[in-house]
Amino acid sequence: MSNLVLDSVTKIYNVKREPDVLAVDAVDMTVNDGEIVGLLGSSGCGKTSTLRMIAGFEEVTSGDIRAGGRVLNDLAPAARDIAMAFEGYALYPPLKIRDNIAFGLLRDRRPRAEVDAKVKEIAGLLDIEDILDRYPPTLSGGQQQRTSLARALVRSADVHLLDEPMSQLEPQLRAILRARIKDYLIQNKLTTIFVTHDQTEALALADRIAVMNDGKLMQYATGDDLKDRPANLYVASFIGEPPMNIFRTLSRSGGDGRRLEIQTPDGGSASALALDLPVGTVADNDLTDGRKLALGIRPHQIRFGSFTALGPVLSGKVTSNQWLGDQTHLGIETGSQLVIAVTDGTVDAPADSDIEITLPLDALHLFDGDSGEALHHGLNKRDAAA
Amino acid sequence: MQRETTRSRIVRGVLLALVGLFFLFPIFWVFLMSFQTNQDILRMPPSLFFTPTLDNYVALISGKLETNAGTLEIKFMGNLLNSFILASCSVALSIVLAIPAAYAFARYKFRLGEDIAFTILSFRFAPPLLVLVPLLSYFQMIGLVNTYIGLIWVYQLITLPLILWITRGYFEDISEDIEHAHRIDGHGWLKTFLKIAVPLALPGIAAAALLAFIFAWNNFVFALILASADKQPVTVGALAFVTASGIQYGQIAAALILSIIPTLIFAIAAQRYLVEGLSLGAVKG
């Protein structure tokens, strides 16, 4: 099949005696053939409504859903050639796991030998070979969810829709199953749209992620872009575990450049981080005197130690130093703000010790303090270092 | 979310109206009867059109029943008061006894606990008449026949199991952690029972008390055998309308309407608690 296009798709729920609910607000997005797309957001953000409109379970209030130029809006779910894994699994209780998985293939009248081979392959992929002859009610939630995934992935439909596909998986299996599923989707060129509230899952699987909030599409981009080029403060403070550190700042003119001063929560200015930006590093009108801005930096781009050539240096006190095996998370109190820094190795900085950290200019992001829109990703380090 | 078509709305409305009519028609008919004379009531075919009269209510309230055979003294208002005393005292006593018991059954596993709880429930299975005859002779021996205390005691057979079993369910629904938290805060078990368990089960207690009140109010056979005229509740008192000169349908209907009123008032007053009781789950945790 060809591209799936959502063109200004809107969903409004009318509930009697209650105000209308705008669940999905003019969402535009394109899913390319063979692409894996994640719809990410917290509950009530409109991601599930969007998925259900694509599936055909919900009517589109306005806008179009098109596949290969054909409008799908009024097509019944069965006529859309979709495979779906439901959040509640929706397995057929009287059928063995094997038959649950094979159900769609048999309905398509595929030869028995081919069906058996495919069931065997997908069962191996999802580690459910040993339960193929059991019945759904006897299985744990994780096993049922893997069966539900197997049933959706074993077919080759135009679009595969997965609703919270991995929320119940056993923690020890998550990493490997994510990797295997991603490999399987890519190798079989399955166009996939999945809904999740878990950004780890979205970032692990998806080629592109649609971050939704309050019915609106906040950003639709690759995982790397969401992390390195967040379109707004919402995405910046949502994506990443831990997410970006955000400093509220005010722009002040001074010297031969502009000065950013960190604001305390009550609105006053604190001098913990004063950043001089020479003229020309960022557009001048972005730094008009007194403009409210926000400065962001991802935790693992913070450098430990003082490297004045790279960017501003902060000193602070370590509030917690948490080694997690393959990474270390530090809480550092600088002035009135807690900064979180992450590194792959270990850091010799016990709680309550003093520490210096450098915020490299090329890792700093600048946002408008009021609208939250991103202004710059990476403040030119070459000029600033001079 | 399914959109409702106009047609399905209409069909649903008609069906609901039919069900409502089926259940409410007898009450409506009795309500009409209470404003009719016996002649109107007995007319064939029955008619919805008649000249309303308040005579039935006047007779009940004044206690003087005019019949063809002369004036009869009836104690309807006294009966109403008896009903009220019996039902409310029975429920009050049951609450005092059943709530700690229900809590114990809900929270503590003790030997024979389930058996005792079931035995109490089984009082509800026994046919009252089976118990009543021996009970009558015991009561005569110890002088409890025709006393409020004796009747309230027997009424416990109705109200106690009901309140115990309903509130037990509510206590079981309260997260144990909430009570544990209160104990760990440093409060003794009695305080935890009174300040945490009882307030949280209050909707259930209110619902149980209302149901028990209605059952006690409607009881007939205990009072018929164990009470004479001055302690009779309305259920038994209504027998007085079956007179030598015929059955006074109008007064019976009026008596019914009057005797529904207290329970109706309680039900409306307790409605808020009943609804809250159903949504207790939302408060938990």
Partner: protein, 369 residues
């Protein structure tokens, strides 16, 4: 000095043994994370210490005194619950005030105490609200405030971050150590999340199948897990475990893995079937052929927080997970490609194939001395 001592505590429900003779010593002021999969008995253990359940066997001592015969209200400890266990009919203020009122404090003292701890947890502005009007995060802080308000010497935290969203959970994980330090309390922290256990525990007690599988510092447990079960419970992505045979010769022990022989730093034991474990971050993946590099196929790259997970297949059909930094992962495009992987032998762990216990360790888990 030992403040809390669990001495061979056993608890059964009907026929089922939930805790099987568990022992644990917690030092004064120490934070011990009780970590294990669901159903391991963690919550029951806390309730035995709190006194809302009684042990069938064994003793619980707080500061040297046996408390098994004391009622919960006599034990003077603080506890926060996974489901918050707030009193739904009382305001946040009255919830937090409850332990102070139990002590019979004057209303002035109560107000001061509540306001102090509410300030610490930043919930001053919601004190007049009923629990149902609080967000999950505020409920969780109210519940923590209630457990802290009396300044208890022993604090039991039963998976307090379980029911808050990911972001808040992360923030609290960073914030809690400082808060706990301010209280000076001895803390038992129950969690199902190994990251929380490693971040918050001075030591971790791994509870598995009704006993402690290992009690030690996070670093020791992570680097030298006592059993395969413990090794698999800590770490995301999960440790790679491959069946092989441990050989012993004059030079010491070694294992064979995809045709290469790796020396092992374990005390010589007899040759046994074993599982060799290698953590994903200790497998180095290179796009060019390296010395001693094992050729493999890179099948998928899945980002995981600030790192990336690599799914590798060796020619013998073996499957390995490796992990690398986000920057390194940027080199690997979508789809299959040929890579070479290298393993540093010092990071290899060997476990007995049958018992699952790590080979060559001097003492196999059990209670700390």
């Amino acid at each position: 000095m030992t403040y809390l001592n669990l001495d061979h505590v056993t608890k059964r429900f009907k026929r089922e043994t939930v805790l099987d003779g568990v022992s644990l010593d917690v030092e004064r002021g120490e934070t011990v994370a009780i970590f294990g999969p669901s159903g391991a008995g963690k919550t029951v253990l806390l309730r035995l210490i709190a006194g809302v359940l009684d042990p069938d066997e064994g003793d619980v001592r707080i500061d040297g005194r046996s408390v098994v015969h004391e009622q919960p209200e006599e034990r003077g400890l603080g506890m926060a619950f996974q489901n918050f266990a707030l009193y739904p009919h009382m305001t946040a203020f009255d919830n937090i005030a409850s332990p102070l009122r139990a002590l019979g404090k004057s209303e002035t003292d109560v107000r001061q105490g509540v306001e102090r701890v509410a300030g610490l947890l930043q919930i001053d502005h919601v004190l007049t609200h009923l629990p149902k009007a609080l967000s999950n995060g505020q409920k969780q802080r109210t519940s923590l405030a209630r457990s802290l308000v009396r300044g208890p010497k022993l604090l039991l935290l039963d998976d307090p971050l379980r029911n808050v969203d990911a972001k808040l959970r992360y923030e609290m994980r960073i914030e809690l150590p400082r808060l706990l330090k301010q209280t000076d309390a001895t803390v038992l922290y129950v969690t199902q999340d190994y990251k929380e256990a490693m971040a918050l525990g001075d030591r971790i007690a791994v509870l598995d199948e009704n006993r402690f599988a290992q009690i030690d510092t996070p670093a020791t447990i992570y680097r030298h897990p006592a059993t395969t079960k413990v090794a698999r419970l800590l770490g995301d992505p999960t440790i790679n475990l491959k069946p092989t045979r441990l050989g012993v010769d004059g030079n010491g022990a070694s294992v064979e893995l995809f045709g290469q022989t790796f020396p092992l730093e374990v005390e010589p034991v007899d040759a046994v079937d074993c599982l060799v474990g290698i953590r994903p971050e200790h497998i180095k993946v290179s796009m060019t052929e390296t010395e001693n590099g094992q050729p493999a196929e890179l099948d998928a790259v899945t980002p995981l927080n600030v790192r990336s997970v690599l799914l590798l297949k060796t020619p013998d059909g073996g499957e390995f997970l490796a992990s690398c930094s986000e920057a390194e992962a940027a080199r690997f495009p979508r789809g299959h490609r040929q890579v070479w992987l290298t393993i540093a032998p010092e990071h290899l762990l060997a476990f007995d194939a049958e018992s699952g216990e790590r080979l060559g360790q001097r003492s196999a888990g059990g209670p700390a001395p």
